[in-house]
Assembly symmetry: C2
């Protein structure tokens, strides 16, 4: 696999790992999102001003209002953070 | 770095590698985009029906019409392909 294919595969693996905790691997619940943030994006969480950042993030990501984050919504988060980091 | 941070860093590295060929590392020219596709996304190109896929892709990605692909436009491509691959 190329470096880019590898990165794309890693994004899928991260989502699948945390989304499958509750057995429903299509979506991240708020608890799964929080765990994923703590484990995978500790720097982002540290930079967050207060601890209910996961709530705010869930609301921002949850475009279809089902109180869960699906893969497309998750990729939008990753894309936004990647752009923010690259353009700093 | 976590797996997700690693994936994000790899996406930035891939863009910087191909965008800097012409010395202007903020954007990919059409030639740089074509080389990146051939090297980093060979499977995607193979699946493309014909060879001027890079032209079509450039037009689709080039949201600001400057005939170049900047990092944000590149990340939209990566995000779209990642969603397409995951949701298959």
């Amino acid at each position: 696999m190329s470096q880019l294919e590898n990165a794309m595969a890693m994004i899928m693996q991260v989502f699948d790992k945390y989304a499958s905790t509750d057995g429903k691997k299509q979506t991240l619940t708020k608890a799964e999102l929080k765990t994923m943030m703590e484990k995978e994006l500790p720097a982002f969480l540290k930079a967050a001003k207060n601890q209910d950042e996961a709530d705010k993030l869930m609301k921002a990501l949850d475009h279809n209002g089902d109180s869960k984050v699906d893969f497309n919504e998750f990729v939008i988060l990753v894309a936004a953070l990647t752009c923010a980091c690259h353009n700093r």
